[in-house]
Every structure is written in C-alpha cells, then in structure tokens.
Symmetry: C2
Subunit: 147 residues, 2 copies
DNA sequence: AATCCGAATGTTATAATATCACGCCTCAAA
DNA sequence: TTTGAGGCGTGATATTATAACATTCGGATT
C-alpha cells in the first residue's frame, strides 16, 4: 500500500467511525496503520512490538482492545487459522451486505484478497441458521504461481 | 454418540489407519475416543485433563501429537475459530474428495454438522490456486431455534 | 469554574494455547 | 544383534489472550 493510499484509508476509516458515533483514537489509528502497512496478516504481538519504541506503555491489552474495536468497526478482520489480523480492503461507503468476508491468503507472499456476498452455504443442514461464517482460503496467488 | 456407535467408529478409525500404514496407538485411540464422546468441540487442555486421572504422564505434547496425527489421518478436524477439535463424522470408506470439511456449529448446543464437496469459491481472485480452505459456520441448529 | 460521569487507556498479573528439545523405549528390518 | 525410525515421556518455554483494577481525559451538568 502506498503512503498516499494509506493516508486516504486512514481518513476514510476515521470518517467511518465518526459516522458510527465512535472515535478513531490515536492508539486505534496507529494500530490500523500498522495493520494496513503490513504485507500480509499481522500478529498481535508484532503490533505490540511496533507500538513501543519508547520504554513505557504498550501492553497486550492495548493492542487487543484496539483490534477488538477495529474488528467491530469492520476495519480489520481476524484470520482465525493464523491468529493474525488483516486490514479490511472493502469500502464502507454503503455498508451491510451481511455476513463476513471471504479471504484468499497467499501462503507465499502473504497477499490477502477479500471477497463479499457469500455464495456459500448451498449445503447447510436443514433448519440451520447461520450467524457468523469464517471462510479462509490458503494457496498461491497469481503472482506466486510456480508455473 | 452411543457407546455402540463409538466402538464402531473407533474400530473403523483403526482400520482406516492400518490401511494407511499407520498405527492407532492407545494414546491416539483414547484421544479420539474423548473427542468423539464430547457433545461438541473440545479443547486440547480439556483432553489433557481427561487423560490424567493418574499422577504421572500426559503433558501438552502428548495430546497435541495425538491431535496432529488424528487430523492428518482425517479423523479429527480443528475448529480454527474456537481453537478446539471435533471428531470427523464422515466415513473414510472411499476417500478423497479433496478439500477440507465445511463445518456447521451450533452456538447453543455445540452440535457439529460436517459437509463436503466444497461448492465454494465461485469468487476466487483470478489465478488463485486454493490448497486449503477453512470454512466454519456458527449459528443455531434446527433443535435450538427460538421459534 | 467545579463536579461528575463514562469511555479509553495504563498497568500488573495470569490464563489459555501451543511448541521445542532432549532422551528413552520398542519393534521390526537388515 | 545391531540399528534406525517412530512414538512417547518430560521439562522448559514460546505464543496468544484476558482479567482485574487504577488512572486519565474530555464532555455534560450544575
């Protein structure tokens, strides 16, 4: 992500929070920035390291709270299979297409693509009501193919 | 799961391992039994507790090794979003339909339904080759509906 | 201005999940 | 019988995450 588009994304995120009556505080903004800057999924404790060039502050709850906030706001997704986090690339201009994102994660370069509008559960058991879905695909992106 | 069908499942699992040139050792069999007995997804450290009524033996590596073996053999799945494990209900009579299972997990009663034959990624980015998919749906099963 | 309130954050500690590294044992193949 | 691989025991430690409580800060109310 370029510096320019990063700035734009942060501004958009801030606007998105304000719209929701919430605040993108400095800690939250910094965590989001770090997540967006990263090449791929980021670990919570790597964020923690990045947050404390100075001695004091930045303990685990700091980063987990920020991540919880950002996830609730839809700005960040957790990759459950990796215990790691990715920035949400999807614009929140006119939200609500329901379910969670479908993630495609390149095991070689770490690139993450996000898709929405789950065409998924043709397959659900009779009477099952889905509240939340986790869909994560791992493999090689177009740039990383051996062929 | 009834005692009878549990026994059958364990026998089938044993046969499945032998077919693959591997051994369902006592520890592995006991872990599988505990996973199958459980009502829903089981945590590794709960298995660990269950494994040590006696004082000595049963440290984390014991259970994680057994789980790794059982997962590789396709007898157990990990629920990534819960850091928990479920028995694979699917028969291995004539295997190989490729990708991982699609799990439907009732948040109320813990029941897990497993589906196969991924109808999934209508949606993949161009050129993306999927190696492994994690698909986990959470919600209410037919028995647990409020309505 | 003084006070209060609630949200956000700081801080300490600990819980929960998972792996590493090493050594021993057993069993079967050579 | 030697030997080698797989499985397991054991102790230590790494990684991921939360609980519980204190403090600060900014806005609303008086």
């Amino acid at each position: 992500m370029t510096t320019d588009s990063l700035t734009k994304a942060l501004d958009a995120a801030e606007a998105h929070c304000v719209e929701r009556g919430e605040k993108l505080t400095p800690v939250r903004k910094r965590v989001l920035e770090l997540v967006l800057e990263a090449d791929g999924p980021v670990k919570a404790y790597d964020l923690l390291e990045a947050l404390k060039p100075g001695p004091g502050s930045a303990k685990p709850p700091t980063v987990y709270r920020a991540l919880d906030f950002l996830m609730t706001a839809g700005l960040v997704h957790k990759v459950e299979a990796l215990n790691a986090f990715v920035g949400c690339s999807h614009t929140h201009d006119h939200d609500e297409h329901g379910g969670g994102a479908e993630l495609f994660i390149c095991s070689d370069c770490g690139a993450v693509e996000e898709r929405h509008g789950a065409p998924l559960p043709m397959n659900a058991p009779a009477g099952f009501t889905i509240q939340r879905s986790v869909v994560e695909h791992f493999g090689q992106c177009a740039n990383c193919h051996p062929g």
